[in-house]
Protein backbone atom coordinates (compact mmCIF):
# COMPACT_ATOMS: atom_id res chain seq x y z
CA UNK A 1 0.00 0.00 0.00
CA UNK A 2 2.51 2.61 0.99
CA UNK A 3 5.98 2.31 -0.45
CA UNK A 4 8.88 4.42 0.66
CA UNK A 5 8.71 7.73 -1.07
CA UNK A 6 12.46 8.23 -1.12
CA UNK A 7 13.88 9.62 -4.30
CA UNK A 8 17.40 9.18 -5.53
CA UNK A 9 18.28 12.46 -3.88
CA UNK A 10 17.67 10.75 -0.52
CA UNK A 11 20.26 8.09 -1.17
CA UNK A 12 23.79 9.20 -0.43
CA UNK A 13 26.44 8.27 -2.95
CA UNK A 14 28.91 5.48 -2.40
CA UNK A 15 31.54 8.15 -2.08
CA UNK A 16 29.70 9.77 0.81
CA UNK A 17 29.66 6.49 2.70
CA UNK A 18 33.38 6.00 2.15
CA UNK A 19 34.08 9.53 3.35
CA UNK A 20 32.05 8.95 6.51
CA UNK A 21 33.91 5.71 7.18
CA UNK A 22 37.22 7.48 6.79
CA UNK A 23 36.11 10.21 9.17
CA UNK A 24 35.14 7.58 11.72
CA UNK A 25 38.53 5.90 11.51
CA UNK A 26 40.33 9.22 11.84
CA UNK A 27 38.23 10.19 14.84
CA UNK A 28 39.04 6.85 16.44
CA UNK A 29 42.73 7.51 15.93
CA UNK A 30 42.35 10.94 17.50
CA UNK A 31 40.66 9.39 20.50
CA UNK A 32 43.48 6.91 21.01
CA UNK A 33 46.15 9.56 20.68
CA UNK A 34 44.34 11.85 23.09
CA UNK A 35 44.14 9.08 25.64
CA UNK A 36 47.91 8.66 25.51
CA UNK A 37 48.62 12.33 26.02
CA UNK A 38 46.86 13.09 29.27
CA UNK A 39 43.93 12.01 31.37
CA UNK A 40 42.06 15.29 31.02
CA UNK A 41 42.51 15.32 27.26
CA UNK A 42 41.28 11.75 27.15
CA UNK A 43 38.10 12.67 29.00
CA UNK A 44 37.51 15.76 26.86
CA UNK A 45 38.03 13.74 23.70
CA UNK A 46 35.72 11.01 24.91
CA UNK A 47 32.95 13.47 25.70
CA UNK A 48 33.16 15.21 22.33
CA UNK A 49 34.52 12.84 19.73
CA UNK A 50 32.55 9.78 20.79
CA UNK A 51 29.12 11.38 20.41
CA UNK A 52 30.38 12.81 17.13
CA UNK A 53 31.24 9.34 15.87
CA UNK A 54 27.89 8.02 16.99
CA UNK A 55 26.21 10.97 15.32
CA UNK A 56 27.93 10.23 12.01
CA UNK A 57 26.74 6.63 12.12
CA UNK A 58 23.20 7.74 13.01
CA UNK A 59 22.99 10.50 10.44
CA UNK A 60 24.60 8.88 7.42
CA UNK A 61 24.78 5.13 7.86
CA UNK A 62 21.41 4.91 9.58
CA UNK A 63 19.95 7.44 7.16
CA UNK A 64 18.59 9.71 9.87
CA UNK A 65 19.65 12.82 7.97
CA UNK A 66 17.20 11.98 5.25
CA UNK A 67 14.29 10.97 7.45
CA UNK A 68 11.37 13.19 8.43
CA UNK A 69 11.31 15.46 11.44
CA UNK A 70 9.11 13.08 13.39
CA UNK A 71 11.63 10.24 13.35
CA UNK A 72 14.39 12.66 14.28
CA UNK A 73 12.24 13.86 17.17
CA UNK A 74 11.70 10.29 18.35
CA UNK A 75 15.45 9.61 18.32
CA UNK A 76 15.99 12.80 20.27
CA UNK A 77 13.40 11.79 22.87
CA UNK A 78 14.99 8.36 23.33
CA UNK A 79 18.50 9.73 23.78
CA UNK A 80 17.26 12.55 26.02
CA UNK A 81 15.43 10.02 28.19
CA UNK A 82 18.61 8.06 28.81
CA UNK A 83 20.55 11.23 29.57
CA UNK A 84 17.86 12.38 31.99
CA UNK A 85 18.01 9.03 33.81
CA UNK A 86 21.78 9.36 34.21
CA UNK A 87 21.56 13.03 35.10
CA UNK A 88 18.90 12.59 37.76
CA UNK A 89 20.81 9.66 39.25
CA UNK A 90 23.61 12.10 39.92
CA UNK A 91 21.32 14.10 42.21
CA UNK A 92 21.96 11.18 44.50
CA UNK A 93 25.47 10.01 43.65
CA UNK A 94 26.94 13.42 43.03
CA UNK A 95 26.07 14.51 46.53
CA UNK A 96 26.75 11.35 48.50
CA UNK A 97 30.20 10.28 47.44
Amino acid sequence: MEHTTETHADHPSIGTFLAVWLALVVLTAMLVIASQVSHDLAVAAMLTLTPLKAGLVLYYFMHLKYEGVLLKAMVFVAIATLLVFIGFLFFDIGFTW
Binding site: M1, E2, H3, L31, A42, M46, A54, F61, M62, A78
Partner: protein, 210 residues
Amino acid sequence: MDTPMTDAQAHAPSEHRDDLGAKVGMWLFLFTELILFGGLFILYSAYRSMHAHAFEDAGKLLDVPLGVTNTVVLLTSSLTVVLAIAYMQRGDRRKATAFLLATIGLALTFLVIKTIEWSAKFEHGIFPGSPHLLEKGPGETLFFGLYFLMTGLHGLHVIIGGILLTVMLWWVVKGKTTQDNYVYLENAGLYWHLVDVIWIFLLPLFYLAA
Protein backbone atom coordinates in the same frame (compact mmCIF):
# COMPACT_ATOMS: atom_id res chain seq x y z
CA MET B 1 4.72 10.22 7.84
CA ASP B 2 2.14 11.16 10.31
CA THR B 3 -0.95 12.30 8.43
CA PRO B 4 -3.97 10.06 8.43
CA MET B 5 -4.36 7.73 5.49
CA THR B 6 -5.57 9.18 2.22
CA ASP B 7 -8.74 7.76 0.78
CA ALA B 8 -6.72 5.98 -1.87
CA GLN B 9 -4.60 4.27 0.72
CA ALA B 10 -7.61 3.35 2.79
CA HIS B 11 -9.19 1.54 -0.11
CA ALA B 12 -6.07 -0.01 -1.58
CA PRO B 13 -6.09 -3.75 -2.12
CA SER B 14 -5.78 -5.82 0.97
CA GLU B 15 -2.03 -6.52 0.69
CA HIS B 16 -0.95 -4.23 3.46
CA ARG B 17 2.60 -3.04 3.01
CA ASP B 18 3.89 -0.08 4.97
CA ASP B 19 7.66 0.29 4.58
CA LEU B 20 7.82 3.49 6.56
CA GLY B 21 5.82 1.87 9.35
CA ALA B 22 8.21 -1.06 9.37
CA LYS B 23 11.13 1.34 9.64
CA VAL B 24 9.48 3.26 12.49
CA GLY B 25 8.88 -0.02 14.28
CA MET B 26 12.54 -0.95 13.92
CA TRP B 27 13.71 2.41 15.26
CA LEU B 28 11.39 2.00 18.25
CA PHE B 29 12.94 -1.39 18.90
CA LEU B 30 16.39 0.18 18.65
CA PHE B 31 15.36 2.64 21.35
CA THR B 32 14.68 -0.28 23.64
CA GLU B 33 18.12 -1.70 22.91
CA LEU B 34 19.66 1.71 23.59
CA ILE B 35 17.97 1.90 26.97
CA LEU B 36 18.80 -1.75 27.75
CA PHE B 37 22.49 -0.97 27.36
CA GLY B 38 21.75 2.39 28.91
CA GLY B 39 21.09 0.72 32.24
CA LEU B 40 24.64 -0.59 32.17
CA PHE B 41 25.95 2.82 31.16
CA ILE B 42 24.08 4.23 34.16
CA LEU B 43 25.88 1.75 36.40
CA TYR B 44 29.21 2.51 34.76
CA SER B 45 28.83 6.26 35.25
CA ALA B 46 27.89 5.75 38.90
CA TYR B 47 30.72 3.39 39.75
CA ARG B 48 33.27 5.36 37.76
CA SER B 49 32.50 8.45 39.76
CA MET B 50 32.81 6.44 42.96
CA HIS B 51 36.05 4.66 42.06
CA ALA B 52 37.72 6.97 39.55
CA HIS B 53 41.32 5.98 40.23
CA ALA B 54 40.70 2.26 40.41
CA PHE B 55 38.87 2.42 37.09
CA GLU B 56 41.80 4.15 35.45
CA ASP B 57 44.26 1.62 36.84
CA ALA B 58 42.12 -1.33 35.82
CA GLY B 59 41.75 0.07 32.33
CA LYS B 60 45.48 -0.27 31.82
CA LEU B 61 45.08 -4.03 31.93
CA LEU B 62 43.01 -4.07 28.76
CA ASP B 63 44.61 -4.61 25.38
CA VAL B 64 44.26 -1.31 23.54
CA PRO B 65 45.47 -2.52 20.13
CA LEU B 66 42.93 -5.34 20.17
CA GLY B 67 40.18 -2.98 21.27
CA VAL B 68 41.01 -0.46 18.55
CA THR B 69 41.25 -3.21 15.96
CA ASN B 70 37.80 -4.41 16.91
CA THR B 71 36.54 -0.85 16.64
CA VAL B 72 37.84 -0.54 13.10
CA VAL B 73 36.40 -3.96 12.31
CA LEU B 74 32.93 -2.84 13.40
CA LEU B 75 33.14 0.56 11.74
CA THR B 76 34.09 -1.18 8.50
CA SER B 77 31.26 -3.65 8.90
CA SER B 78 28.86 -0.72 9.19
CA LEU B 79 30.25 0.54 5.92
CA THR B 80 29.91 -2.81 4.19
CA VAL B 81 26.31 -3.29 5.29
CA VAL B 82 25.39 0.19 4.13
CA LEU B 83 27.03 -0.55 0.78
CA ALA B 84 25.11 -3.80 0.55
CA ILE B 85 21.88 -1.82 0.90
CA ALA B 86 23.08 0.85 -1.53
CA TYR B 87 23.81 -1.74 -4.19
CA MET B 88 20.48 -3.44 -3.55
CA GLN B 89 18.80 -0.09 -4.17
CA ARG B 90 20.70 0.16 -7.45
CA GLY B 91 19.64 -3.37 -8.39
CA ASP B 92 23.14 -4.88 -8.19
CA ARG B 93 22.40 -8.17 -6.46
CA ARG B 94 25.94 -9.51 -6.84
CA LYS B 95 27.60 -6.60 -5.06
CA ALA B 96 24.89 -6.58 -2.41
CA THR B 97 25.62 -10.23 -1.70
CA ALA B 98 29.35 -9.65 -1.60
CA PHE B 99 29.09 -6.79 0.86
CA LEU B 100 26.70 -8.72 3.07
CA LEU B 101 29.18 -11.58 3.14
CA ALA B 102 31.92 -9.11 4.06
CA THR B 103 29.79 -7.78 6.91
CA ILE B 104 29.19 -11.24 8.30
CA GLY B 105 32.89 -12.00 7.95
CA LEU B 106 33.77 -8.88 9.90
CA ALA B 107 31.24 -9.81 12.58
CA LEU B 108 32.94 -13.17 12.98
CA THR B 109 36.33 -11.45 13.12
CA PHE B 110 35.06 -9.29 15.94
CA LEU B 111 33.90 -12.32 17.87
CA VAL B 112 37.21 -14.10 17.39
CA ILE B 113 39.17 -11.14 18.69
CA LYS B 114 36.80 -10.81 21.64
CA THR B 115 37.26 -14.48 22.46
CA ILE B 116 41.03 -14.03 22.41
CA GLU B 117 40.75 -11.07 24.75
CA TRP B 118 38.46 -12.80 27.19
CA SER B 119 40.53 -15.99 27.23
CA ALA B 120 43.62 -13.97 28.05
CA LYS B 121 41.80 -12.34 30.93
CA PHE B 122 40.52 -15.65 32.28
CA GLU B 123 44.03 -17.05 32.19
CA HIS B 124 45.20 -14.17 34.33
CA GLY B 125 42.51 -14.92 36.86
CA ILE B 126 40.32 -12.06 35.80
CA PHE B 127 36.71 -13.16 35.49
CA PRO B 128 33.46 -12.07 37.15
CA GLY B 129 33.74 -12.30 40.90
CA SER B 130 37.17 -13.95 40.77
CA PRO B 131 39.27 -14.12 43.94
CA HIS B 132 42.06 -12.21 42.18
CA LEU B 133 39.74 -9.31 41.49
CA LEU B 134 38.32 -9.32 44.98
CA GLU B 135 41.85 -9.08 46.33
CA LYS B 136 42.52 -6.04 44.17
CA GLY B 137 39.58 -4.26 45.67
CA PRO B 138 36.09 -3.02 44.87
CA GLY B 139 37.10 -0.60 42.10
CA GLU B 140 38.78 -3.26 40.00
CA THR B 141 36.06 -5.80 40.76
CA LEU B 142 33.42 -3.39 39.54
CA PHE B 143 35.41 -2.29 36.48
CA PHE B 144 35.89 -5.81 35.25
CA GLY B 145 32.40 -6.81 36.31
CA LEU B 146 31.05 -4.09 34.09
CA TYR B 147 33.58 -4.93 31.38
CA PHE B 148 32.45 -8.52 31.11
CA LEU B 149 28.76 -7.63 31.41
CA MET B 150 28.84 -4.89 28.82
CA THR B 151 31.11 -6.52 26.27
CA GLY B 152 29.29 -9.77 26.90
CA LEU B 153 25.86 -8.30 26.26
CA HIS B 154 27.32 -6.51 23.26
CA GLY B 155 28.85 -9.73 21.96
CA LEU B 156 25.48 -11.42 22.29
CA HIS B 157 24.04 -8.69 20.09
CA VAL B 158 26.86 -9.19 17.58
CA ILE B 159 25.82 -12.82 17.36
CA ILE B 160 22.14 -11.91 16.97
CA GLY B 161 23.05 -9.32 14.35
CA GLY B 162 25.18 -11.84 12.55
CA ILE B 163 22.29 -14.27 12.42
CA LEU B 164 19.94 -11.55 11.14
CA LEU B 165 22.42 -10.61 8.43
CA THR B 166 22.82 -14.24 7.42
CA VAL B 167 19.06 -14.52 7.00
CA MET B 168 19.13 -11.34 4.94
CA LEU B 169 21.92 -12.78 2.81
CA TRP B 170 19.74 -15.82 2.20
CA TRP B 171 16.82 -13.64 1.16
CA VAL B 172 18.98 -11.60 -1.20
CA VAL B 173 20.36 -14.72 -2.82
CA LYS B 174 16.93 -16.29 -3.09
CA GLY B 175 15.41 -13.17 -4.59
CA LYS B 176 13.01 -12.51 -1.75
CA THR B 177 14.68 -9.14 -1.23
CA THR B 178 14.59 -7.09 -4.39
CA GLN B 179 15.28 -3.62 -5.63
CA ASP B 180 11.64 -2.78 -4.92
CA ASN B 181 11.32 -4.59 -1.62
CA TYR B 182 14.30 -4.29 0.67
CA VAL B 183 12.87 -2.82 3.87
CA TYR B 184 13.86 -5.90 5.92
CA LEU B 185 17.43 -5.54 4.71
CA GLU B 186 17.41 -1.89 5.72
CA ASN B 187 16.03 -2.79 9.13
CA ALA B 188 18.69 -5.45 9.64
CA GLY B 189 21.23 -2.80 8.69
CA LEU B 190 19.79 -0.45 11.29
CA TYR B 191 20.16 -3.14 13.95
CA TRP B 192 23.74 -3.71 12.90
CA HIS B 193 24.56 -0.01 13.10
CA LEU B 194 23.26 0.09 16.64
CA VAL B 195 25.65 -2.72 17.54
CA ASP B 196 28.40 -0.53 16.09
CA VAL B 197 27.24 2.57 18.00
CA ILE B 198 27.25 0.69 21.31
CA TRP B 199 30.83 -0.37 20.69
CA ILE B 200 31.77 3.21 19.78
CA PHE B 201 30.90 4.09 23.36
CA LEU B 202 32.39 0.98 24.93
CA LEU B 203 35.84 1.61 23.48
CA PRO B 204 36.70 4.81 25.32
CA LEU B 205 34.88 3.77 28.49
CA PHE B 206 36.97 0.67 28.97
CA TYR B 207 40.04 0.71 26.77
CA LEU B 208 40.90 4.38 26.83
CA ALA B 209 39.98 4.97 30.44
CA ALA B 210 43.58 4.95 31.54
